[in-house]
């Protein structure tokens, strides 16, 4: 296993989660402790394990293509739950262009 050290700022950017500066030390300490513990896995010999061999694996069940929606839900609940709603849309801070 690679040397356990989490680049906290990078991972928080990936996970889109903000940690207050004063809490970073505590997080770093806990995360490093857990990652160190996790190194235990290196004791196991996993070289012979092949993740791709899927003997008798079940196939995912397929849903018949019908547009009867058993989960139709009242728009009012959706609107009530929405933090910001405008002109029939969820409202978010301005963005330029679509990515992906």
């Amino acid at each position: 296993m690679t040397k356990p050290k989490i680049d906290l700022d990078h991972i928080c950017d990936l996970a889109k989660i903000e940690i207050k500066d004063q809490d970073k030390k505590k997080y770093q300490k806990n995360l490093d402790a857990i990652l160190t513990y996790v190194q235990k896995l290196d004791e196991l010999d996993l070289d012979s394990i092949d993740l791709e061999t899927k003997n008798n694996s079940l196939s995912t069940p397929l849903r018949i293509d019908e547009n009867s929606s058993p989960l139709k839900t009242e728009l009012s609940t959706i609107i009530k739950n929405a933090p910001a709603w405008q002109d029939n849309h969820f409202k978010v801070p301005g963005i330029i262009g679509d990515i992906d």
Binding site: T73, I78, P83
Partner: protein
Amino acid sequence: MKKLHLLTTIELNKLLKNRTITCQQLLHSYLENINKNEPKIDAFLEIYKENALTKAAQIDKLYDKGDPLPFLAGMPIVIKNNICLKNKKITCASKILENFVSPYDATVINKLEKNHLIPLGATNLDEFAMGSSGENSAFKITKNPWDFDYVPGGSCSGSAAAVAAHFAPLSLGSDTGGSIRQPAALCGIVGLKPTYGRVSRFGLVAFASSLDQIGPFAKTAQEAAHLLNVIAGHDAQDATSAPVPVPDYAQNLGQDIKGLKIGVPKELFETGIHPEVKEALVKALELLKKQGTSWEIISLNTIKYSVAIYSILAFAEAASNLARFDGIRYGFSAKDAENLDELYKKSRGQGFGDEVTTRIILGTFSLSSGYIDDYYLKAKKAILLMKKEFHEALKKYDFIVTPTSPTPAFKIGEKINDPIAMYLSDLATESANYTGLPAVSIPCGFTKNNLPIGMQIIGNHFEEGKILNLADRFQQLTDYHTKMPEFLEEN
């Protein structure tokens, strides 16, 4: 007569059927107990009093008509607040969902309705079911009914405590690494994690999708069997739900246990086991031996790696599952965000508690570029190895029996700053989640300080009936499950 809320559902069923009591009387008895004792326990996030009273009146009418009703008709049940009920707040004990209202019912809730059970309240939990003590709730800390200074276990802190405190005879929880079984052990009740796929996950707010299972809490294996009858079965809305027929678990109890073989993995006795827990377990095994079973020490080496696997795999799935809480469609949304990136980061940063944040970061790391091979994929391989080991063991033995938790309940605050110590509470339970095997925890003793001790019985896939049968037999030989926390005896 004993107070109604102190009776078992088996006794209550008779009384309801012959109309000695009404559902409303029964409900009032529970409400009274809640009223008096909930402030000591803090098991609930919400009590559905009005709904429950209406429901009880309706079911009374059905009983009065004399139509045959399902066994648990009229029984109150409390529900972990990560299982969706239509038009109810589903908070997962998180600030990020503090005001969230579910527009739909979970499949298990539909099944409760069909069987005329009465949802009585939403129970507290560790935020998003992440924790082993109940201390990670954003709203309150549930206390262990046996000693209010102690944790009830987690993450189903409220569901376990509520049943132990006789606030309801039954409850539902979810189990990802031991969240049903460990608090059941610490609260001295029965908690069952069914085979993966046995109970639909539709409507259960996901923690780790490949491990999560909904399961019952009750005071006896017999009652748990009745509740499993209600919630088990295939559901087309959950692609991982198993198309396997559901036997009548309650009807099939009382089978002979003579000749059954039990394997007890030595790995769980090598590190950090509390001596009283060990003692109670050996005593329990010896008692079962007298009934014609046999037990021997076996080796299941991969168990030692349970917590390491958990810290990678469960957290990785969690990081992805919790990405939907982004402050846009529902839930907490930071008011001071100036752009999209800030909206995400502040909403999530302020909305999630410390433990959830820790797990999201670790899970994101384990899947991130450059690390996925060494972390996520390695954990998946370790699981395959574990499956092989358990498969081999269950060819030789009918059951694998372990202590449910290496220790009895610990003090509130005792482990909160030591994540590894906290995670090790689930060392014995997590393997059943990786392997998908059913496992039940039943009370098997008390410490000198009068704290409950639990024994875990793991069986083969879809053999819930068999482990419940052994548990039921054990409970007929013992009276641990009939003991009550002190405060109940006082009033």
